[in-house]
């Protein structure tokens, strides 16, 4: 007698469950340990360990709580900072722009009213939310973490499940410490081999996004693996995970290892003494089991990755610095390419190497950590930036700024003609006054080259801190591998 279709479907689900239980991935282990309950239809109530908030996506959530008359469930799970809207000059003075000032002040009053820890302007821990979480040891392996910001994927570098949410969900997490979500599908991206000299984690992720497109990761959580990933520092891993969202992935993560533990040990809020030992023992159990399977898997060779730049108006429109701008393809249709070329005032089939640039921005949650500043600093040391270039360096946090100053990097940048600013999101998204004027080209270490992202009409070329620094000195797009340091 043939099996009833419903019974057959149940058998398949049962078999898959057994399969998954037997061979879980890093993502499965962390996700499954945080499921409070499942809802008929597929969604799950996922417990959130850490919630980061900032001034832009939280005011409506606090208002919602007030209107409903409900308190925060776990205020010790939330940390707030002001980053998107803050000026990067004169940070000790009141914010000049009235709307920005109002929004930042509202964060302060909301945090005071609801009892949330705030690292606001002037606090030594203030900075870009995705820079301060890791550097304070708030981010750690095996936890779930959310923030009303798509680049929350950054924290996945520690083997955490971290993803961006909208303001309604910010309110939900405030009220219940949970989100309601279907478990995403699993993707693994392996990068094997060694990166060439002059090629960084930023080039690696721009290369992957150029291969998969801005929608290639939609519906998935990505695990980055392979020898090239394992060789990266935590800063490099954060750069990679940060840009997972730029291929549409819900988040990215990397198995925790000795590099992770060494980075975290001794940080402000990292576990201490016996707690540390217990934590590390637990974290060592998290990596993906050898025979675990993924819904989709890609493998690339690290040696094949060149220094990357973008030519278009989304992060998937990237190419090697020596390449010519490609024709329309399955990833970028003719209409998209035409629109992008018109906005960027560039031409299909032409190279970009040698093209003059006007601005260089070194900063953002992608590339504003101390290692990024050291890398860019090593290139500009003893040199001057070109007369046609305006260069700004914006450290990711007060702590990064302090460290950079202690190492003399501020003087290196200033001697070269860069401005060295205070911490914040700055010209990555042009919410404050740090904008690129219309029609100007900016080589930027940030994450998005969308139309108008750095200011109305601004033309963004995404690149690594090394390529950006080289462009500043040369005054044009250059291949950093050939650049005389």
């Amino acid at each position: 007698m043939p099996l009833h279709p419903r019974a057959a479907a149940r058998l398949v689900i049962f078999a898959r469950q057994i399969f998954e239980l037997a061979m879980p991935t890093l993502f499965d282990k962390v996700w499954d340990a945080h499921v409070v309950t499942s809802v008929p239809g597929g969604a799950q109530v996922l417990y959130i360990d850490r919630h980061l908030i900032h001034e832009v996506t939280s005011p409506q959530a606090f208002n919602g709580l007030r209107q409903r008359g409900i308190p925060l469930l776990r205020r010790d799970r939330i940390v707030a900072t002001a980053d998107h809207n803050v000026p990067t000059k004169d940070q000790d003075k009141p914010i000049a722009e009235p709307l920005s000032r109002k929004q930042v002040e509202m964060l302060t009053t909301n945090c005071a009213e609801f009892g949330v820890e705030l690292y606001g302007l002037g606090h030594p821990y203030q900075g870009i939310v995705h820079v301060i979480g890791p550097e304070l040891g708030i981010t750690r392996p095996g936890i779930t973490m959310v923030c009303g910001d798509s680049h929350t994927s950054t924290h996945g570098a520690f083997g955490a499940i971290a993803f961006g949410i909208g303001t309604s969900q910010v309110e939900q997490v405030m009220a219940t410490q949970c989100v309601l979500m279907e478990k995403p599908r699993k993707m693994r991206i392996n990068i094997e081999g060694d990166l060439q000299p002059g090629v960084t984690a930023k080039d690696l992720i721009l290369y992957v996004i150029a291969k998969l497109g801005t929608g290639g990761g939609t519906g998935h959580f990505v695990e980055y693996a392979g020898s090239a990933i394992r060789s990266l520092s935590m800063e490099g891993r954060m750069t990679v995970c940060n840009m997972s969202i730029e291929m549409g992935a819900r988040g990215g993560l990397i198995a925790p290892d000795q590099t992770t533990f060494d980075y975290l040990e001794g940080r402000e809020f990292a576990p201490k003494r016996e707690e540390w030992e217990k934590a590390v023992a637990h974290w060592r159990t998290l990596p993906t089991d050898a025979d675990a399977t993924f819904d989709i898997e890609y493998t690339y060779r690290a040696e094949e990755i060149p220094p990357m730049i973008t030519y278009g108006t989304n992060p998937g429109m990237g190419m090697g610095v020596k390449d010519r701008i490609p024709q329309a393809s399955a990833l970028h249709g003719e209409a998209s390419m035409e629109k992008a070329m018109q906005y960027m005032d560039l031409e299909i089939g032409k190279p970009m190497e040698g093209m003059p640039v006007d601005y260089v921005f070194i900063g953002s949650c992608t590339n504003s950590r101390i290692e990024d500043l050291r890398l860019a600093g090593s290139l500009v040391q003893g040199k001057r930036i070109a007369a046609n270039v305006t260069g700004i360096v914006v450290p990711g946090s007060q702590q990064v700024a302090k460290q950079a100053i202690a190492e003399g990097l501020d003087r290196v940048f200033e001697a070269a003609g860069f401005e060295f600013r205070g911490a914040g999101c700055s010209a990555c998204l042009g919410m404050n006054e740090d904008k690129v004027p219309a029609g100007r080209y900016c080589v930027s270490t940030s994450n998005r080259n969308f139309e108008g992202r750095q200011g109305p009409g601004a033309r963004t070329i995404l690149a690594s801190p090394l390529t950006a620094a080289a462009a500043a000195v040369a005054g044009k797009i250059v291949d950093v591998r050939e650049f005389k340091i």
Binding site: Y47, L73, K102, G166, M181, R448
Partner: protein, 199 residues
């Protein structure tokens, strides 16, 4: 949240792929602290020039097209997680966005606000674009109860997927937060059975 059951309307075509939320609502308009009023800046830089004059060639400025359905190219809503994008689309007057696929965060934000994202095949989407090109007054029906999208001009009826729980929420105007609050006991039990939830 207003309940959604069925809608028949003309549609506004935006046949561009990878429309990111920075285009839907640029960052400089995110300084508001309430959910209202974002509609006037929907697609601000595509809609208005530097002097704040409407750009004639942009579809929202073309009086030929109107309706409560926005028909958009693949990967709609990619980029920033800003829920302001969903608020802006809704505040402008759209109740449904149809595309061949949506970015995950945008889709979640839309659902949390009662703005219905309808995913159809690229073929169905292309046909809808062609239909509007031939007749701007063409009507489309989105029936949430039956989970169908109908091109009233061609008669093409196609099903769309939506999470069963989410469908119930939308049809009744329920928020996730009401449901999550009702799970409070389970959430606290979960916290208590964890050895150390900070690890």
């Amino acid at each position: 949240m207003n309940p959604f059951k069925t809608l028949t309307s003309t549609a506004v075509p935006l046949p561009i792929e990878d429309v990111d939320t920075d285009q839907i609502i640029p960052a400089r308009f995110l300084k508001a602290t309430t959910r209202e009023g974002f509609g006037e800046n929907l697609f601000r830089d595509w809609r208005y020039d530097k002097l704040n004059q409407p750009k004639e060639n942009f579809v929202l400025n073309n009086p030929t097209y109107s309706g409560e359905i926005l028909l958009a190219g693949a990967n709609f809503g990619c980029g920033s997680s800003r829920e302001h994008a969903a608020w802006a689309i809704q505040d402008y007057g759209f109740r449904v966005v149809v595309s061949s696929y949506f970015a995950d965060i945008f889709k979640g934000n839309a659902l949390n606000n009662g703005l219905l994202p309808v995913t159809v095949s690229p073929t169905v989407l292309d046909e809808a674009f062609r239909t509007i090109e031939q007749n701007a007054a063409a009507r489309f029906t989105v029936n949430l109860e039956e989970q169908t999208f109908t091109n009233e001009e061609t008669g093409t009826v196609t099903g769309f997927e939506i999470d069963e729980y989410k469908r119930t929420c939308l049809m009744n105007g329920y928020d996730d937060i009401d449901f999550l609050l009702s799970q409070r006991e389970k959430i606290e039990a979960f916290e208590n059975q964890r050895l150390d939830y900070s690890l």
